[in-house]
Amino acid sequence: MIGRLTFRYGIVVVLILISAVASLSIGAVWINPFEAVKSLFIQDNFILNEYRIPRMILAIIVGSSLAISGALIQGVVRNALASPDVIGITKGASLSAVSIIMLFPSAPLFILPFGSFAGALCVSLILTLLIAKFNVKGSKLALIGLAIGAICTAVVQYLLIRNPQDANTALVWLTGSLYGHSMSHVLVILPWFIVALPIIFYYCHQLDILTLGDDIAIALGTKVKKIKMILLLLAVILAGASISVVGGLSFLGLISPHIARRIVGHKHIHITIMSGLIGALILSISDCLARGIHPPIDIPVGVVVAIVGVPYFLFLLRKI
């Protein structure tokens, strides 16, 4: 049993390493993989240092953050359709980001991550309030999030139409892109990733109990409300930090947990870790493709994620 799981983890990790190296080699300028790995340690290549290494690390961290966030939300909401994008967190972040781009075009650019994180937090605060005060059940919570997300999307579309000059910048942000990111962006999300992860692992066991249903969980002594709130907050923080750096990248939170479940079963500690790995893998591969398909054109990563992720996801769906 354990052997089989380790084997699966092993394969995924190896795949991630391969795509990481590929990520370092592919781009407008082809760098020999061995060179690339060597330079990783010596740090003498400008292109690698400035662009590729930060992007690769960012892809891995953001990929896993979004995926784990999705896994948490699916656990709390107990709905397989849930993910930060579906329940309105991504949309809330998008709304604040686009508003800032459109309404304050002369604002310094460092406001953007700040603002989008605030947007995500707002939406999640509404949702958390609903759990705290009304103890809203899982699916209903997801639906409310969906509705809020839809309202945000409508307003975003309105802004896009009214300000066609800045529509381009906004669209790129909305799709999600790793373009132009440097080590400073990695440093923004890294500490939070490091801090959140242990807390999440601690709660994984509780999440398993929660899946049995609210009533059973309460009977077993779990503080249902409190746990839901904490987990939701953690999920939002992971997703919010990622989105604030990368833009409205959607989909990872939705499909990675599903793929993970097919591979490692239903214990949440495994689902969480595997989701993170799968998310990192998908984003990493997508980033390679985004840069490599048609240099020097750099396709926004969000588009590639959809193209890469969806067919695999549907294939899995079929297998049921």
Partner: protein
């Protein structure tokens, strides 16, 4: 004694229900006429009641009647037809999947059609003449993919269908966004269309989709009785003699035609298909033979009203109608979710 009481009560309940139904129909049709008038009169150009008389009764040729005939009328007709079409397609989907969240938007039909249209206009513009037919194909591909990938008829649960639908929707819309981003100069112009807009619709386009929609409407009314049976549940329906598979396929085709035609000339207008059936079900719950026509009327009401609003928000500037329907639709959606929908 008691028996006759209950029979009487049932009879009076029935009468009440009938009264309510008739009232609903009358009110919505009247609303339709009022809204049509507003639809035709509100706008950047100044058009008065006198102009209408000139147009319809006296047939005079003035600048205003010219505008009424060539700009406002085709647009109003399109709004009427498309509103009805989207409403009915939503109703059909919700019945078929027994999922109150179903709508052509969520099921990849809209996004498949939009993808094809954007693809044509940006990458293969030579094919623009065939966009309507190609939009059907796009809608078909979207819908078909969702259908097949959610498993065979036996294994198709609402969740699996919803999941597959969401995935296909995201897939197509990402690709659409990708094409738009890579052809940046066209971005602002395509964005307008991509939200769903009734502006600049001309008679040839309306005439183009008219036959398809009329056929689909007739088809929907015919199949209404089967829908009522289908709502009871698959096993019950089969035991009552219904050929579930055939009904499903027919309904699927109708949805594709209704949604595909609408998207091909107006772009993907969201939420109408989701909201209208809910409104209708408030008043009539069971008999699809009544629900289908009412959906058409209320769908037309809603879309035409949204069109009027879209012309007012940023007067004299037009906003795409899709924005109004999205916003209003989303708020209404939030409302019904929070209020606690027993049907969910």
């Amino acid at each position: 004694m008691i028996k006759s009481h209950s029979v009487n009560r049932t009879k009076s309940n029935e009468k009440k229900a009938q009264k309510r139904t008739t009232l609903t129909f009358i009110v919505s049709v009247c609303a339709l006429f009022v809204i049509i008038y507003f639809n035709l009169s509100v706008g950047a150009s100044h058009i008065t009641f006198q102009d209408f008389i000139d147009y319809s009764v006296k047939h005079i040729d003035t600048k205003e009647t010219f505008l009424i005939h060539n700009v406002r009328m085709p647009r109003m007709f399109a709004g009427l037809l498309i509103g009805a079409a989207l409403g009915v397609s939503g109703l059909l989907m919700q019945a078929m999947t027994r999922n109150p969240l179903a709508s052509p938007q969520i099921f990849g039909v809209n996004s498949g059609a939009s993808f094809v249209i954007v693809f044509i206009s940006m990458i293969v513009p030579a094919l623009t003449e065939y966009s309507t037919i190609l939009a059907f194909i796009g809608a078909f591909i979207g819908g078909l993919t969702v259908y097949t990938l959610s498993g065979s008829t036996k294994g198709m649960t609402p969740i699996k269908l919803a999941l597959a639908g969401m995935a296909i929707h995201l897939f197509f819309s990402s690709m659409t966004q990708g094409i738009i981003l890579l052809n940046e100069d066209a971005t602002s112009t395509v964005m307008f269309w991509l939200v769903g807009s009734l502006s600049s619709i001309q008679w040839p386009q309306v005439i183009g989709i008219f036959p398809w929609l009329v056929m689909a409407f007739i088809g929907a009314i015919f199949i209404a009785k089967q829908l009522t049976i289908m709502e009871l549940g698959e096993d019950l329906a089969t035991s009552l003699g219904q050929n579930v598979k055939v009904v499903r396929i027919t309904v699927g085709l109708l949805v594709i035609v209704l949604a595909g035609a609408s998207v091909s000339i107006a772009g993907p207008i969201g939420f109408v298909g989701l909201i209208v059936p809910h409104i209708v079900k408030h008043y009539i719950r069971t008999d699809y033979r009544l629900m289908v026509p009412l959906t058409m009327i209320i769908g037309a009401d809603l879309l035409l009203l949204s069109d009027v609003l879209s012309r007012l928000i940023a007067f004299p500037f037009e906003s795409p109608v899709g924005i109004v329907t999205s916003f209003v639709g989303a708020v209404y959606f939030l409302f019904i979710t929070v209020r606690g929908v027993d049907r969910l």
